[in-house]
């Protein structure tokens, strides 16, 4: 299958190889949460709700030096192309929950909120490739919305390598093509990679190209997220008034 | 743990010695029984009497009723005192595996639903349930009670699988013995439905009223009842100090030091002896005595089962 048109250089959905899908972030989508956000990357659409920092619910997990960060990832039954009824806590969601938690924990200043708990609930509405990236981006927005102090803006993006071309931000079709794909998460300001997942062999030089592409994607997303946050902050402040 | 709050009533009068005690005395006996169960129990044993006033070598009242469950192909209800078992068999069709193309099979499962005991809660099965499942399945196979070839329908194409499910409705000791009797009784009661093969190769039942009318070939016209060859019966004996108590109740099981379960077939041959760990070593002499007791019990159970069969036939004909 041709994932990149050899003549025009365009991908199946009409993007250039180094082009992100349409991204959209929206704050405050869940009424009762401390912070919440919707994030879309093309057709991939996730909601994150953050509860806390609040009293630790299970006292045995309380840490007197830092906040306890928890994450639960769930997929809506209708989130994938073929409808599947999934059990909660299957292996895949446990794994993604862990990845999101660890990635966000690297940025949250947990030592400022000792003996408290922060819950990050991730709900995938539509999965069309790059779900874990979308979840991380949404979680960053939601945590910022909840006013939880963070070291940096964490963003994530994928890149792959198909038809001898490095491709940014794979959609489901490209993702399931079986080529190598890299999920990268970065702390944007510090320019540090905090998450790197790859599941295929790739020569070193190509790998570097693909990873660099993903990092560029992360940075573009970080800029967007910063804008969303700043715009929201200005809006809140000007509404609040003197 | 397994003190049955209610079963107590009758035992006390005989045991307490006083007999004529009023409510206050009864309370005292009850308190003593709860606080010092072993001492209370052993004081009984010295008088050669048990908590429920039985002699040591007497099993509880035993009853068997066949055909309780209409939705099953064979079923039975068995009671040993308060221990109650319902066993039911449902026949389904399977393609036999190549290595035993002319045989059917039997799948046994023993359940302890939460209604049977205060210690069982929904969602978590009792830990003894799978153990008893395994023992039952082993005994059915090793006794040769059922000739699996009798369960064949069409060689290599179709044979019966008999799903035998036993539910313990009330757990008051000697569960394996009662479950085994219910197993035997359910197989005795089993009526194999008349079947034929439909156009698409599936085996389908022929309803009674259509017998003789259907164009499809009948597969098992003369194999409607299962021949049981070596019917196994078992007896569990509790060994406590020098005493042997047959058919222990749950309360006794919680006190008694160890048990021996003996399974005998129709010819009085030992099919299996089962003794879980425990402090007392079962000497050969004791074991022999247990076997003697088991033989007597097996005969008794055989009679009860036969009576239930004829009772059912009477029922049917009337």
């Amino acid at each position: 299958m041709e994932y990149v048109n050899p003549l025009t250089g365009f991908r199946i959905d009409g993007r250039r190889p180094n082009e992100l899908r349409q991204i959209k972030g929206e704050l405050g989508v869940v009424a009762n949460a401390d912070g919440s956000a919707l994030f879309e990357m093309g057709n991939t659409r996730v909601i994150v709700a953050v509860y806390g920092p609040r009293e630790v619910q299970n006292k045995s997990q309380q840490n007197n030096n830092q906040a306890l960060v928890r994450c639960e990832y769930s997929m809506a039954n209708f989130s994938t192309g073929d409808r599947t009824r999934r059990q909660k806590g299957d292996r895949r969601s446990t794994e993604i929950s862990l990845v999101i938690r660890q990635t966000m924990e690297a940025s949250i200043l947990t030592h400022l909120m000792p003996r408290s708990q922060i819950d990050i609930f991730v709900q995938v509405l539509q999965a069309d490739g790059g779900t874990r990236s979308a979840c991380i981006n949404a979680a960053t927005l939601a945590l910022a919305d909840a006013g939880i102090p963070m070291r940096d803006i964490v963003t994530s993006c994928t890149a792959g390598y198909l038809c001898s071309t490095p491709l940014l931000d794979l959609n489901y079709v490209e993702d399931s093509a079986g080529g190598p794909d890299v999920t990268v998460g970065i702390l944007s300001k510090m320019d540090k990679v905090t998450l790197l997942q790859m599941d295929a062999k790739l020569p070193m030089d190509i790998f570097e190209n693909v990873m660099q592409l993903a990092i560029e994607g992360c940075k573009a997303i970080a800029n967007y997220i910063r804008e969303v946050l700043l715009e929201n902050t200005k809006q809140l402040e000007s509404r609040r008034g003197g | 743990m397994a003190t049955s709050a209610r079963g107590g009533g009758e035992g006390e009068a005989a045991a307490g010695g006083g007999g004529g005690g009023g409510a206050a005395a009864e309370m005292e006996v009850e308190a003593y029984r709860r606080l010092f169960p072993v001492a209370y129990f052993e004081r009984h044993l010295r008088e050669s009497v048990r908590l429920d006033a039985r002699p040591l070598a007497s099993p509880r009242d035993t009853s068997v009723a066949l055909g309780l469950v209409g939705s099953a192909d064979g079923s039975a209800l068995v009671k040993f005192g308060d221990t109650t078992m319902v066993a039911a068999i449902k026949l389904e069709v399977m393609t036999p595996p190549a290595e035993s193309s002319d045989e059917g099979s039997v799948a046994v499962e023993f359940y302890m639903p939460p209604i049977c005991s205060p210690t069982v809660r929904p969602g978590r099965s009792a830990e003894v349930a799978p153990v008893i499942s395994k023992q039952l399945s082993d005994v059915i196979m090793s006794s040769g009670m059922i000739n699996l070839k009798d369960l064949c329908l069409i060689n290599g194409k179709a044979s019966w699988i008999a799903y035998l499910d036993i539910y313990c409705l009330n757990a008051d000791g000697s569960l394996f013995d009662a479950a085994l009797v219910s197993t035997v009784a359910a197989f005795t009661h089993l009526e194999i439905p008349l079947v034929s093969v439909s156009d698409d190769g599936r085996v389908v039942t022929v309803p009674g009223e259509l017998e003789g009318k259907t164009k499809l070939p009948l597969v098992n016209k003369d194999k409607r009842k299962l021949m049981l060859n070596n019917v196994p019966f078992s007896l569990t004996c509790g060994l406590h100090k020098e005493h042997i108590l047959v058919d222990p109740t749950a309360e006794e099981e919680s006190i008694i030091e160890t048990f021996v379960t003996v399974v005998l077939d129709t010819l009085g041959r030992v099919v299996s002896v089962y003794k879980p760990g425990g402090s007392v070593l079962a000497y050969t002499s004791i074991l022999k005595e247990c076997i003697t007791l088991a033989k007597r019990r097996a005969q008794q159970l055989r009679n009860i089962l036969n009576e239930s069969v004829s009772a059912m036939e009477v029922d049917k004909s009337s």
Binding site: E55, R115, A146, I148, P149, L230, T233, L236 | -
Partner: protein
């Protein structure tokens, strides 16, 4: 309060947007300019020679000061900090707060106050019903539930952090204590400004309004300080017949006022306007003046009108100053 998102028609949407744009362009009365808004990880300009003190919401990152929160950069002398907007409540000593009892522990009540931990109200930090100052006895401890029980709404003052890091409250005044016969609203804490007065008796309505610094706002029937309403509700619990209960209900007139004030709070919070007693009363009055039904205060038209009125109010304030 994000639960209120009225569906606006085309005109209303345009009007709202224009109002919000005007709010944005109006010079803020506080010292901070809109330019000083930051998002997470934004650098904060400082002159390093000034020996600045890095406060809340800032972090040193390779010699650069960056924000760890979204908010507004504030500078007080040498202190630079980020004032967060949406966030949980940050307690300060002396804050008046409204909270809910979630647990009764030995010698203390534990309260939910929209902070990262539960707050503690010790039995000893509390005036006893008999009003006598004395040592707390074991009997008092057993009777704690007769003072406050689970789920009770309480008004108290922040006493401070204990050495173990827990937040303590005190309620040693007649004005503090259990709140009954009314409703509790929760708004983002940043919409409440610290002021001298957080208790408001709106005499014209017969309503008490308590604007807790933690964003918990109580609107209820007016009660004279020290009057023991607790007993009233206690009695009702015993006499449970519907008829008897109905006698003790809040009078309809007062209830109307309570609901109107409460909806004013809901509306202002949904618009993200600061919740001062003046703004709340103004909004309620405006709804009365234009004959808006209580529930319609949450509707689209009044939503937009309130935004427009706020523009006028702030514009006139700027004119006065100028």
């Amino acid at each position: 309060m994000r639960d209120l998102q009225p569906s606006l028609n085309q005109t209303q949407r345009v009007r709202l947007q224009s109002a919000l744009r005007q709010l944005h362009s109006l010079p803020s009365s506080s010292s901070s300019s809109p330019l000083s808004s930051v998002a997470v990880a934004d650098p904060i300009q400082v002159n390093h020679d000034d020996n600045i003190l890095k406060g809340h919401g800032t972090l040193d990152c390779d010699g650069e000061v960056v924000a760890t929160l979204c908010g507004v950069v504030e500078r007080v002398n040498k202190l630079v900090y980020v004032r967060a907007l949406r966030a949980r409540y940050k307690p300060e000593v002396g804050d008046i707060i409204v909270g809910r009892v979630i647990e009764i522990a030995p010698k203390r009540w534990r309260l939910e106050i929209n902070f990262s931990q539960v707050a503690v109200l010790m039995l000893s930090s509390m005036n006893l019903p008999d009003g006598i100052q004395r040592r707390r006895t074991a009997v008092d401890e057993l009777n704690m539930r007769s003072i406050f029980e689970e789920n009770d709404v309480i008004c108290a003052e922040v006493r401070g952090f204990q050495h173990d890091g827990s937040l303590h409250l005190q309620a040693r005044s007649q004005k503090y204590g259990k709140l009954e016969r009314g409703q509790l609203l929760t708004v983002p804490a940043y919409l409440v400004k610290r002021r001298k007065q957080h208790f408001h008796h709106l005499e014209q309505y017969g309503v008490d309004l308590i604007i807790g610094c933690n964003g918990f706002i109580w609107v209820g029937e007016h009660v004279e300080a020290g009057e023991n309403v607790g007993m009233l509700v206690e009695d009702q619990k015993k006499t449970s017949t519907a008829e008897e209960e109905s006698w003790s209900f809040t009078p309809l007139e007062t209830r109307k006022h309570i609901c109107r004030i409460a909806n004013a709070v809901r509306l202002l919070s949904a618009l993200g306007f600061t919740l001062t007693v003046e703004a709340i009363v103004d909004t309620a009055e405006a709804s009365l003046a234009s004959n808006i039904e209580i529930n319609d205060m949450l509707g689209a038209e009044f939503f937009v009108q309130t935004a427009e009125r706020e523009v006028q109010r702030r514009a006139s304030m700027v004119r006065k100053k100028g």
